[in-house]
Subunit: 404 residues, 2 copies
């Protein structure tokens, strides 16, 4: 896995060559910039560090990273509120775009210089990353590196949920949280690839103007969306996509029309403050009612859980994933999908980028770009400034945790 | 609903005409043969009775019935172990084929003499039935009336589960109980409309020879199929169709591959003997574990319940159902699906037909045909003979209740 090769010290390479005739000592290892999670917690646990450059091992493609995607999942990793948290220190990041700079054995089909997208289970936020070839995808020629870093996880998740689990058909209705966020925005665009799909969604009020026209019925997070949806569509919705969990799980299942599908794909309600809150964590999970298949039988309903990270890195359905990426590239080439980029940040400004996502201030994808120069810093330590500047409204919004 | 019109006494018609000038008294109402459930219980609660002929009201198509489908659901109705049992006495039956003999107002698109299939919430087992036009479908020209009565519920259920809930794709694997039964057989044929689908199924041992070649891996009901499936496919199956419920629900969910879908569509394990057993009923339901959406999230799994009767008669998705029926007729015309008919019975022999289904002795669909003459009866009362003749093997098989 890229994880271990990334950490491989230069000395090991000498040992591997021990059977060869004596060699001159290797030149000092070249270094690359990475974003490291040094331990679980607040923003200060995330540090830019130099590490020895990685080299690709068998089956791996070495990517010179041009842009990385920042996801709500990364905030959960930082707080340690995810399933199977990694051992720290660890280089963060799950997705990137860039150019192929080297190839391990058995990576047929790729050439140095190819413009690619890569998924990797940590280590994407670095100047170089070694990615297993089955998780590397050649980008369409007209796709920018920023789009290449914005598209993979969000659109893959949205596509699988809407079409493969949800079986979305023309004329149906969909609910999604946080239409201003990564998956939410992907959902709005993918729904438009079918005729006459009605989309219900939430977003913070300040984003409503920017999202005008993308969602049929847009509600603020503080509104009781169940009641509002019932006014428009008394029967409820065909597909309910839930990235919040907690009480929203029960609300979502109750809102399903006959043959409706509830899909849990995140649990952003566990992220309430800058650091882990055991209370929010426990509350989110205890609030979710267990359901008997017999109840689903009585009501003709479907409930599903979808965790892209599991699918990508643990469950080995590589051909399936490739088939969906091909469809997404086709939609991209047809102009049917186009990621919305909120902003791009230097590695050094990752804390500020994370805070923007945390505060739901982004509209579209937040990108990290290793070639960018950091912003000039203010005198006060950034964490203090940020904590002080959170308004009551923002604190409330965080409490609701919508995972944009 | 057809239910009430079926029972409408002739006197009511006179009252409706009360405002018109005095009329000569109506001729004595013509009568039709029906199969009536007189109360919940054993075979003797089912009786052939004459009733006044029905007439179609607004939006109804009057069908001269040529063949009726007998389903495991009808056994559950007889025992009263279904959801929302009807009031007795009631004419039984949910599906039939026949010729249009009359039309109410607002039934555009149908003509007298059309060969049609009808779904109706009770009252299908009669010489005449009035069916709401949205549940009447013109049969392909080359379809026999027997096929027309064998196809609707079984193939509609199988199609919706495999393709719309299951999202079956080429190369995937499916498990289904009772491949010798109605839905099971429909599943085997529909799986073959895609390339390279691996089908696991169960059937009583005596049917294995007849089912050879239709199922990739066929197990007897008494075999621990979980273990056998794991030997062939350690990861499990992509779609698990469960008509048994009880302990099988937990087994099925455990057998799912990543992104796998468990679909509960029946609970035949509640039917153990000729009459309702509270013990089996309660056991079947208590055995089923409740599941948290969070567990599904951790494992990337989908659980669903599907009840065709709810969808057809309560949930009003008429356009959707028509679209599936069109697809089934297309498959039929292409020769890709062909119902397997086990046997056809006179109305008077409905008890024997039910017992055959109960004993899982049928291979394919059991049909009732109002034009058939009853078999000559033996001297002993039929129920007594049947009860005595059940072997230990059969009793065991019943205990397992596979809903064929």
């Amino acid at each position: 896995m890229a994880d271990s090769s990334q950490e491989k010290p230069a000395e090991e390479k000498v040992e591997e060559n021990a059977v060869s005739p004596p060699q001159p000592p290797p030149p000092p290892a070249k270094e690359m910039k990475t974003i490291v999670l040094t331990g679980f917690g607040g923003l200060k646990m995330v540090k830019v560090q130099k590490k020895p450059e990685v080299t690709p091992t068998e089956g791996e493609v070495l990517i010179r990273v041009k842009a990385c995607g920042l996801n709500f999942l990364d905030l959960m990793v930082r707080q340690g509120v995810m399933d199977n948290p990694p051992k720290t220190p660890v280089v963060m990041g799950f997705e990137c775009s860039g150019e192929v700079e080297g190839l391990g054995e058995n990576t047929a089909g790729f050439n140095v210089g190819d413009r690619v997208i890569g998924f990797v289970n940590f280590c994407a936020w670095a100047e170089l990353v070694a990615v297993p070839a089955h998780l590397v995808f050649k980008m369409p020629d007209n796709m920018s590196f920023q789009d290449g870093a914005a598209l993979p996880m969000n659109y893959l998740a949205a596509y699988i949920m809407l079409f493969d689990i949800g079986g979305l058909r023309k004329g149906q209705s969909v609910f999604v949280h946080s239409t201003g966020g990564g998956v939410g925005h992907a959902v709005t665009q993918l729904c438009k690839t079918l005729e006459n799909v009605t989309l219900f969604g939430t977003a913070s009020y300040h984003k409503h103007e920017a999202l005008k026209g993308t969602v049929n019925h847009l509600f603020d997070h503080v509104v009781d969306y169940s009641q509002e949806i019932r006014k428009v569509s008394p029967e409820g919705v065909d597909i309910f996509l839930d990235s919040v969990c907690g009480e929203d799980a029960n609300k979502g299942i109750a809102l399903l029309r006959p043959m409706g599908k509830y899909i849990l794909y995140g649990s952003s309600s566990v992220v309430t403050g800058e650091t882990k809150s055991f209370f929010s964590f426990a509350k989110s999970w205890w609030q979710v009612d267990k359901i008997s298949p017999i109840k689903l039988f009585d009501e003709n309903k479907v409930i599903a859980g979808f965790q892209l990270r599991q699918l990508l890195f643990k469950q080995g359905q590589h051909e399936y994933i490739r088939s969906i990426m091909d469809k997404l590239f086709m939609f991209y080439n047809q102009g049917k999908i186009r990621p919305m980029i909120d902003s791009a940040w230097a590695f050094e400004d990752v804390g500020e980028a994370m805070q923007k996502l945390h505060d739901r201030k982004n509209i579209g994808k937040v990108i990290l770009d290793p070639s960018l120069q950091p912003k000039p810093k203010a005198a006060a330590p950034p964490e203090t400034v940020r904590t002080d500047s959170i308004s009551e409204d923002q604190a409330k919004e965080k409490e609701q945790g919508t995972g944009e």
